[in-house]
Symmetry: C2
Subunit: 334 residues, 2 copies
């Protein structure tokens, strides 16, 4: 079980919570100056520090597709997946922890949980971080805080982010305005899939921009406060949509569900469109034949690289479209 | 059970067979010259002649919607439904017989059976026709045969027609060419729904044009021979479609089925489009979750007036679209 196939708090709007801590080991240069030998030593140190509770994945041994599958599961960054340096991922599924070793910083420790759950995510991340601090010489400065390769992460080295599902705010064209307001608060919103304002699937990541001059606790508190307001705004608009255009909305939801369940060919892009309508339908009580966790589960499993890895052999684009539809028919009619 | 919800021979292509006999009673003027009093007497005579095996429906007592529902079930002509004269429909469901009294001719005796079944349809029609001949003074001339109001029906007064489902010939744009060939043989093809060459639902009626100088048996034989050729051509083209574009076709079929089963709003026009894809899917073995008889049954029950009559109260267009989708969801998910 991972973040995407379990249910969490406020999951009509918040799919997942991520807390990411950037850390570096003082004994080695930052990654931009690091040679392969040092990178390997860093991996060894971090792996040893975190011990047996973590599964280790050596990314230099993965195929491109295997590496991209981890990106699609939101466990590693795209940069990490395609880098040339030695690099490793350490995973503790139970705690929702994924540690990228040798990404932009020596250590990118993340805790990813379903729903809105910053408290537990922070607790789990801190526990793992404490272990690293005890066992490794973490680069830290009394005045600046944690030292990071990129100055935008200096200080707490922490990024808190919520993956939010905002179909009503999107349809009401209020994301631009929301983005402007958030930016004044040192927060940011960006589409998770697709570029610009048209986020495919109406999925957005809301996170803090500022890591310097603010404590971890205050960062989390501020993000939570703002998230509550976004959640309320989204829910209010959904109610308006539901009462203003119930039949047309219900029709859109049910057709999307029918297509998802029956199609014989399906692209990822089309799936994300349908995903948004189906998820909204569940939230509005128009559709009870599928649950958030089931939908979340297939939404990851139909991603191109995850699909290919699970097939066990390479797939061309049209084969993927068929395999994707096969998976959906099987899972949703089961 | 009626023609549209039972299965028949060659029903991958032929939905139904109709034999229609035009008859007039010599004691009364043709309908164009007939007064209301005579019309009532004609109705009385025919009703008495056919006796208790027939259910009688007095069309002058029906609402417009009720009358149109019989048109949608293909039991009466649109002209009959909206005429102002006294008129009556006599029905024997077991034999598939529907007799319009006081249509263009005094009597339009029809036998409608599912699938391709001219022999039984002709036998049933003749039995009923024999009863009328024994009990009524049917207008008949030794040289001309049966006398009818419109000279195009003179002679046998018989129209044999097959309702054919021709999606592959339609997609290959071969209906125009077929129509030209048929016309040389004294046969005709026309779209059952919609105007011109774009028959909604890919349903066509193939029938004889000529009633004079040819026997009933020869008319039926000729139509059957040509129908067999059309059926073969349609089947051959379907196989080609299936092997040339299996995945895209299967996708179209399954999406149509998914939409039909799940939509919350549905117009008649959209239904007929979906109907065509779903019916083709059954024929090609791509879809086994729905049968021809089930599909045929809902295709009549979703027609606007049948839907309204069954609802028991008047429905606006958008209410009908919802009721239509409700019916489909209920029937196809049952």
């Amino acid at each position: 079980m991972t973040w995407y196939n379990t249910r969490g708090s406020n999951d009509d709007v918040v799919l997942s919570t991520r807390i990411r801590l950037a850390r570096n080991i003082a004994d080695y240069p930052f990654m931009s100056m690091c040679d392969r030998e040092s990178a390997e030593k860093i991996i060894e140190s971090v792996t040893n520090a975190l011990s047996a509770d973590y599964k280790s994945v050596d990314f230099s041994k993965l195929s491109d597709t295997q590496a991209r599958a981890y990106v699609e599961e939101h466990l590693v960054s795209p940069e990490f997946a395609c880098a040339n340096m030695p690099r490793s991922l350490l995973l503790n599924e139970e705690k929702g922890i994924a540690v990228m070793v040798c990404e932009e910083d020596h250590v990118r420790l993340q805790c990813i949980l379903s729903g809105m759950n910053t408290d537990e995510a922070y607790k789990n991340a801190c526990e793992a971080d404490d272990i690293l601090s005890q066992k490794l010489n973490i680069a830290w400065d009394e005045k600046l805080g944690y030292l990071t390769q990129c100055p935008t992460n200096l200080g707490t080295g922490m990024r808190v982010s919520l993956m939010m599902f905002l179909p009503a705010l999107t349809e009401a064209r209020r994301i631009g305005q929301l983005s402007a307001s958030l930016s004044k608060l040192g927060l940011t919103i960006r589409g998770l899939y697709g570029e610009g304002s048209d986020a495919s699937g109406c999925l957005y990541q809301v996170s803090n921009q500022i890591t310097l001059g603010i404590s971890e606790e205050d960062t989390i508190k501020k993000l939570n406060e703002v998230a509550v307001q976004i959640i309320e705004a989204e829910r209010k608009l959904r109610s308006v949509m539901k009462s203003d255009s119930h039949d047309a909305l219900c029709d859109r939801v049910m057709r999307a569900y029918g297509t998802m369940k029956n199609a014989y060919l399906m692209s990822t892009g089309e799936f994300m469109e349908l995903f948004s309508s189906v998820r909204l339908g569940i939230a509005l009580g128009m559709l009870d034949k599928i649950s958030y966790d089931k939908l979340g589960d297939v939404a990851i499993r139909i991603q191109p690289s995850v699909l290919t890895v699970n097939a066990g052999h390479s797939l061309g684009e049209s084969e993927r479209d068929r395999a994707r539809a096969d998976l959906l028919r099987k899972e949703l009619n089961g």
